[in-house]
């Protein structure tokens, strides 16, 4: 038996070395298959997650408002509720406080917020000029700018009455004009600290917008967790955003899965066909071996070994290419590197080895069924 094994090994070795170009063809085929396999699976696993990040450009999908009959909530309550959200999924949290102010006897709605966070929760804002960075700087809505003939660089005097009904007046400078096409076009935006200094009231806000990377059930679970974790804040889902995201994302997911399935199926058949062609041309060799007394089993074992080596080698080669391929698409489309699932690599190698071996054995079996004499004579 050992002698037999050694012989098979020698046959294997010589077959690999002598038939270099043919093996190269087979190896390329298997590697292509493995590349597509690993690349597509990694992508179809990662794309829905990447896409859900893209969908955050629609802005906040959750809003905090005060629970019960309260009309405003304290910042500490918000921080406590926000702590219940997973930090790695939180894109932004912007507090808002609204106030009616007057300027030149015209009433305006002023919104106090955190500009750094607003840029995250409302990425669709189009600002002409610059975002405010220092105290005393404001952003005005496009309609305000148009009707009051204001532009970046000008100043504006805001007046109103604070809690004790005493008058205040504050001069602010305009750094930019924001255009959204929504109600924000009629607002004046200032930093929350400016508004607090102006009114002498601090520590509470009217609403907080949250943009978080979670969809469907996950989002509902999060809002239930917040509701259960404290009772000062009522989390509300922005249905327009969440519901639509769910629909569109599901479609995109199905698209990627279907495309993956079809591409994979076709590629695997292609690999099998190539292997079959490569093996088929060795019918004479099989016939000869049978004629000089080789058993069917040992012939099958030889091809099995060859297929296994090719499959594993091609599988590893393809895995490397597949990761590069997935990385290329991910960085090109989403500007982000891909999350690699390492267990997929051995899986790819196994699948490509199995496909190769099966593809080898089909033509070998066919060749073995034929009388050696017929094969050797040629057809």
């Amino acid at each position: 038996m050992t002698k037999n094994n050694a012989f098979i090994l020698r046959l294997l070795f010589s077959s690999v070395v002598r038939r270099r170009s043919r093996l190269l063809v087979a190896l390329t085929g298997i590697a292509i298959g493995a590349t597509v396999l690993l690349g597509m699976i990694t992508l179809s696993y990662d794309i829905p997650r990447q896409m859900s990040r893209e969908f955050r450009s629609y802005g906040a999908n959750m809003v905090f408002i005060a629970a019960g009959r309260e009309s405003s909530m304290s910042k500490a309550d918000i921080a406590r509720a926000a702590a219940l959200l997973p930090a790695d999924k939180l894109v932004g949290l912007a507090p808002f406080r609204y106030l009616t102010v007057r300027s030149n006897l015209q009433p305006y709605t002023a919104a106090g917020t955190d500009f750094a966070q607003v840029q995250k929760t409302r990425p669709y804002w189009r600002v002409t000029g610059a975002w405010p960075e220092r105290d005393g700087e404001v952003l005005i809505g496009a309609d305000v700018a148009e009707s009051a003939l204001l532009s970046p660089g000008r100043t504006l005097t805001l007046e109103g009455r604070d809690k004790e009904q005493s008058r205040y007046e504050k001069e602010v400078s305009i750094t930019g004009v924001v255009r959204t096409g929504g109600v924000e076009d009629g607002f004046i935006f200032m930093s929350l600290s400016d508004m607090e200094a102006m009114t002498g009231e601090s520590g509470h806000v009217d609403a907080a917008e949250i943009s978080i990377m979670a969809g469907g059930q996950e989002l509902k679970d999060l809002s239930a967790a917040i509701r259960a974790g404290q009772d000062r804040i009522e989390p509300r889902l922005v249905k327009r955003v969440t519901r639509s995201e769910e629909t569109v994302l599901k479609k995109l997911e199905t698209l990627v899965y279907l495309v993956t399935a079809i591409v994979l199926g076709l590629t695997m058949i292609c690999v099998a066909t190539t292997m079959m062609t490569v093996v088929m041309e060795r019918r004479r060799e099989i016939g000869l071996k049978k004629a000089i007394g080789a058993e069917n089993r040992s012939i099958a074992r030889e091809f099995l070994g060859e297929g296994l080596i090719l499959g594993v080698l091609g599988g590893f080669l393809g895995s490397a290419c597949g990761l590069a391929f997935a990385q290329l698409i991910s960085s090109e489309v989403f500007n982000r590197s891909i999350a690699i699932e390492f267990y997929l690599i051995p899986l790819t190698v196994i699948v490509s080895a199995v496909v190769t071996v099966i593809a080898c054995l089909i033509p070998v079996r066919r060749a073995m069924d034929i009388e050696p004499a017929l094969v050797l004579r040629g057809e």
Binding site: G182, D185, K239, V241, K251
Partner: protein, 434 residues
Amino acid sequence: MFWKMLKGALFRRKGKLLMIAFAVGLGVSLATAMLNVMFDVGDKVNQELKTYGANLNVVPRGASLMDELYRVEGDESDEAAASQRAGEYIAEADLHKIKMIFWAYNIVDFAPYLETRIRIGDLETSLIGTWFDRHLTLPTGDEVDTGMTRLKTWWDIEGRPGDDDDLRGVLVGAALAARLGLKVGDRFEVEAPGEAQSAIVTIRGVFHSGGEEDEQIFGAMKLSQDLSNRAGLVQRVEVSALTTPENDLARRAAQDPGSLSRMEWDTWYCTAYISSIAYQIEEVLPGTRVKPILQVAESEGAILAKTQLLMLLLTVLAMACSALAISNLVTANVMERSAEIGLLKALGATNGAISLLLLTETLITAFLGGACGYFVGLVFAQIIGHGVFGSAVAVKGLVVPLTALLVFVVTVLGSLPAIRMLLMLRPTEVLHGK
């Protein structure tokens, strides 16, 4: 002689050539499916993104701030203010013109709104008149169904949906209904204090929108107009349109259409950018201002661009892979014919003749396989179309020449290295057997 040999090869070596035809067919079906889906994915995803609602807001010129003012102040509307507002509406009778602009077919839906401040008992709120589902016949003879029901797909309505002909049936927001202790089927009185009008209405349904609308009441347009003595007037219109993602040209045009050259202007006007559609609506509804709702418009563009780029890259890579696989198989197939080539050479065939024979043979097979593959690919494309978007994928004619070119290039490139290798063989060696 050439043709005879070609015919002989095509008929005798059926098994082997069938393999090439099969592989090419597979590759072509993959390419056809991916290309067709890629060309159509933009339109399909665009249609899906319409679930986010309107992307254009039509308001009367100059009224936008007054409306804000009005809401902020919330005081009684006196005569002066009322007359000042009189010119700040859009005529309801003109609205059908939105469906008659250059990009009419890209207007998916639109709905007008008219807000009336009302009082229920001692609680103040707004009643918003709208079109729920209106059937319009345009002067051009086209029939159009439009309204708010299809614009706000995320609304959950308990009870019956709104009806434009039911002047006494309203939809009440969930938060308001809870506050007033009202449920579906209840009747209550609404008063419009400024206009000394009132009406008894019945709740057709309670809706949950997850937005500020939950505090409001929606009713037929006529109801709101009657309550506020503003017959035939609407306050603003929301329009949902299919658009092309913005580029530099569109951004420049949005700033100032006047800054474009004649040619640029034509390109801009004849492309479905959100800014050109807005411009065209302003043309048919003079005295209005059309503002893109950036939350929807910007995000739509971003997601559309990403999806298209993703599909493009996937298609290119899938095609590269199938090209490699095909040429690989062709190489394998040509290589195994060393004995035959050796014999031909021994009989005095020139290299050119042999190459021509092999190439023609392979190409004919490849094209036959490719033709079958094309139709299989169409089936795959439709499976994807129906499976994902529930509608057929448009078959683009451009795909045929593209795949034909692919097959030609791939087959020739795949055959060449193998043929070169075969030509280098010495006949005696080959015929002797290795």
